[in-house]
Symmetry: C2
Subunit: 322 residues, 2 copies
């Protein structure tokens, strides 16, 4: 299977400039002595998650080619708003197919970005989005299973590599949340091509550790949704695709897991010490740093990807007063 | 009175590189139609506030000159941790004089940055810090009343001007919180020198509106601490000095005020829509954007400085569930 290249990630960076925020690395004076930590706050992207990178790259290519009358995806998560936001930037119509059980707030937020939202029973999502693609000539933008999406997410890794030079950082370990694997595929490609000595470590909830099982068995393993849906990290319930598995197995050094309690404590630490509103899925890497140093490689200097910040305000309030 | 120059701010930028974070401008898709808003999140600085810029510039100059055996300041706020952090970077000993009524968490956080904390009755702060300066040969770093501090804070304005070019932004209005005036003095100097057409607007709580009264009367007016201490924006209770007043009267277009309720609502909006933990003092500019468009200049494109994020977790939780 053909893997995404560094050149494709560099081209993606040129396309997304001005569409996605060039996020800084944030030093953490509250980190453990002798184990410096930097955060990469993708929660600060305009729709609150890294997904805007891949969506913007994919939509930009379609807009430049003039090959699609619009774009369509099926998602009730961060990818939905990312596609809507990117489509508006390139003045392409966007249809987002959502399960009719999606929270109203997500529907409203996606419509506010100018997208048409079609609500269908969960089981009909794939057929409904395929019908829009066929019927209207819209291009389908998958949440992770596409080279343009992976290349877009990889721009975050390119920025980390650039910051290592600019700030004179001697990084050892980059921690990345894993769900469908788009983010870690892109980041690992960028980091391992430019800085092969840096370890790229995936982080999953214990309750959705299918990528860890895949990496350890050496073959792609999928867990049933009924199993992964138990975790509070609602952005980390997907499973790798053959394409992301090919990148993960080629580039990722290891995948570690964190518990539900550790995830919520990391949400609290990020809010109170780093002043970042992180969603549980975005906090798993900080949880791994804080609670599982022994499971991580021996290197001292860590980066934790804070992949998103779309947390329920009530949950955040409960975590802050626990 | 001699004003800080653009060259001094540019020199400060070179000094603080790697010490302060180069914060991005964050676009806000949730902003009002036709009134685009960008946030400058100084809450993401390592000690949670813009103060690190001025402190790092001042300490860097002292370290380069070799003229001081250490540094001392009196503060229980964001300036205290900024001086401690900067001193550690330049391996200078730091003494922070705090009132003995300061919350224990601030004492602990400042000591964790390697500073010596001396607790004295509030009325003795000035004499205690002067005694350390005289007795140990330490340089006193004031929170705002110094050209090096103003030049350091001005680097945030230089970054905004750079981002206007880099991102192709046609900004109209920059909103800056006002307390002692160090931040707005530096930012206004940078912006008005490079982009005189951009309006620089100060924002104060109604309960601490001494700078607004000064600007409207054309002379420096001070309010009694007993009066300004009523606001929840605990970082905005200071009064301008003759030096900052000289910059404000030369460069600032207007100063507007916000209510206590508006400040807390802006804290909520920043957490839920921009995924930023802001302290009340850091949220006043967003409050002005949200609730007082008629008091602002006619231009459409706004930047709001989010000056800090050191909010009490209990207050943040209450705001999130209100």
């Amino acid at each position: 299977m053909r893997l995404v290249t560094l050149d494709e990630i560099r081209a993606a960076r040129r396309r997304i400039a001005g569409g996605a925020v060039r996020t800084p690395l944030l030093p953490c004076p509250w980190a453990d002595d002798g184990r410096p930590l930097w955060l990469k706050p993708e929660s600060l992207q305009p729709t609150g998650a890294f997904k805007i990178r891949g969506a913007t790259n994919a939509v930009s290519r379609l807009a430049a080619a003039g090959s699609a009358a619009g774009v369509v995806t099926d998602s009730s998560g961060n990818h939905a708003q990312a596609v809507a936001y990117a489509a508006r930037r390139y003045r392409l119509p966007a249809v987002i197919v959502m399960p009719d059980v999606a929270p109203d707030v997500k529907v409203v937020a996606t419509r506010a970005l100018g997208a048409e939202v079609i609500l269908v029973p969960p089981a009909d999502r794939k057929t409904a989005s395929a019908a829009v693609a066929d019927g209207r000539g819209y291009a389908y933008i998958p949440p992770y299973d596409h080279p343009d999406v992976i290349a877009g997410q990889g721009t975050a890794g390119l920025e980390i590599a650039d910051d290592m030079v600019e700030l004179g950082l001697d990084l050892d370990t980059v921690l990345v949340p894993v769900s469908g694997g788009g983010l870690i595929s892109g980041i690992a490609t960028a980091i391992k091509t430019l800085r092969p000595q840096v370890k790229v470590i995936g982080v999953e909830p214990e309750l959705a550790a299918d990528a860890q099982e895949s990496l350890r068995r050496g073959e792609l393993v999928a867990w049933e949704p009924a199993r992964t849906y138990r975790t509070v990290a609602d952005g980390l319930r997907m499973t790798l695709s053959p394409l992301t598995w090919a990148h993960v197995s080629a580039y990722v050094d290891d995948i570690v897991t964190v518990s539900e309690d550790e995830i919520l404590e990391a949400v609290r630490v990020l809010a109170t010490r780093a002043r970042l509103v992180a969603e549980p899925s975005g906090a798993v890497t900080t949880a791994a740093y804080l609670f599982h140093p022994d499971a991580l490689p021996a290197g001292r200097h860590h980066v934790a990807m804070v992949s998103g910040g779309n947390v329920d305000p009530g949950l955040l309030a409960r975590v802050l007063t626990a």
